[in-house]
């Protein structure tokens, strides 16, 4: 499954439970639009680490990396790319 779709599926099924009337796309800010809150970010962090087998430092938990489906997909790709290049 394409990465963005996989993330979208997880957050929709586990974090959003969006009511009709709340519209969002892959660039929608999770926090800015109130789709998830700080505990949701922690759940998302745990899921990302477990699912993609990557280690995320607290310093990397930033809006630039975690605040939309597309931002998170880019972040995971970057982390996976580092793992590949470092031969891990």
């Amino acid at each position: 499954m394409e990465l963005a779709k996989q993330i979208g599926k997880y957050v929709t099924e586990n974090l959003f439970y969006v009511d009709d009337g709340f519209e969002y796309d892959d660039d929608t800010s999770f926090i800015g639009e109130g789709l998830i809150d700080s505990m949701g970010v922690m759940e998302l962090l745990a899921w990302v680490q477990a699912t993609f087998d990557i280690s995320v430092d607290q310093q990397e938990v930033t809006p630039d990396n975690f605040d939309s489906v597309n931002k998170l997909a880019d972040f995971i790709r970057r982390k996976q790319s580092i793992l590949v290049h470092s031969g891990v």
């Binding site: 109130g34 505990m39 607290q58």
Partner: protein, 504 residues
Amino acid sequence: MLAQDGLQNNRLAQPDKTALVCGDRRLSYAEVDAMADRLANALIENGVKRGDRVAIFLPNSIEAVIGIFATLKAGGAFVVIHHTVKFEKLSYILGDCQPAALITSAQGVGSKLRTAQESLKLVVLTGSKLCRDGGELGFHWIQKSFPAIRPSVATIDLDLACLVYTSGSSGEPKAVMCDHSNVTFVTSSVIGYLENTAADTVLSVLPLSSGYGLYQALMTLTFGGTLVLESSFAFPVATLEKIGKERVTGFPGVPTVFATMLQMNLSRFDLSSLRYITNAAAALPVSHIQQLATILPAAKIFSMYGLTETKRALYLPPDQVGVRPGSVGIAIPGTEVWIEGPDGERLGPNAIGELMVRGRHVMRGYWRSPEATSKRFRPGPNPGERVCCSGDLFRMDEEGYMYFVGRKDDMVNTRGEKVAPKEIENVLHSLPGVIEAAVVGVPDPIMGQAVKAFVVADAALLKEADVFAYCRSHLQDFMAPKYIEFRSELPKTSSGKVLKRALL
């Protein structure tokens, strides 16, 4: 004095001073006041009258702050609704407060509600390119189309300034009515003990829908400082970096915020500008106070206690933090508190009883709820005066400092939010397959208390994941249970009431 006077005075005294920072946007006092004037004129032209409610359903944002002050300038009472509230609760709140206008970013919600909610004369949509479409106006269009002239309204300080919704033990939220004199009194009292001046920059991650978050905006724009408004504490690194970047002097938080901070390596952040930190909503563990005092030696630590019905009631002067770290202090300036026994007698040191609060910060009661009002707000010693029964049990030491003991009811305090178990139980009972449910708070190192639901259910119909999913879709995040335990039956008293103590 009115709640918007501080902003208006600062527009004259220091028009170019930065009043508000939100994301990449920075607004001066002149800009904030002018934007609020423009929105106020739009509200008035579209039918908002003195005393009308204006609902603000937005995340922490510039538009939310402008909406607050615009409502006041239009003579109305604002109602900030937490932006993660689900549609059913939002509908309930709007049906309860009957707003004349709604300010929101959610276009679909705005349109849907405008049809369902007959009181609504106007929906203001932020972040929208919309110009004017029937009863919907674009926030940015308003800013281009209406004059920055202060509206002439006849508000006096006995008029309502805002309604603040709080959890009701019955399961339905109820609104605390706050008039302008309540708001300006408590604003002035808190500014006094925090010793705020125009040199202060306050960073707030607290929602404007809560009293604690709301007053960060009202206070800062009154004392002429700068408010750095964050949408939440979801990204602690970004927030802590901003403290150094903006040279923040005041940082209000709740125990969950400080517990999260203490799990981080704080040495990489420049927190040297902090003059004070405040804690409210739930008690900060003594060990956390001691760690914060070590990490932030230059910052004063204020442990505080309040309830929406009085906004704030107690604060511990920072020079007492080392002496009695478990205390939440004394009455805020200009007010009185005491501990009352079951027969209404004032109790002395070390006896446990209910905290009573007297002063001009005691709000006007609950909106359209005379019965709930008469239980919480009792006549005071002088005619027409109200005393607030806090509903919380306290004890006092020999020097008169107060210590929180527990609640009289079964309200859960999770992540600094008071949650009525009944509200969660109502949702659980509405899930097909649930036969019985009981909700309690259990200790949690980060959240203070975590919500735990005990469910008796038809096993053929429901799995744990179904219950979690249903709760998430019907409750705000902080209310959704962290733990769910299935039981074949719940312990009961002889009269058939669920015995929650036996579940803990």
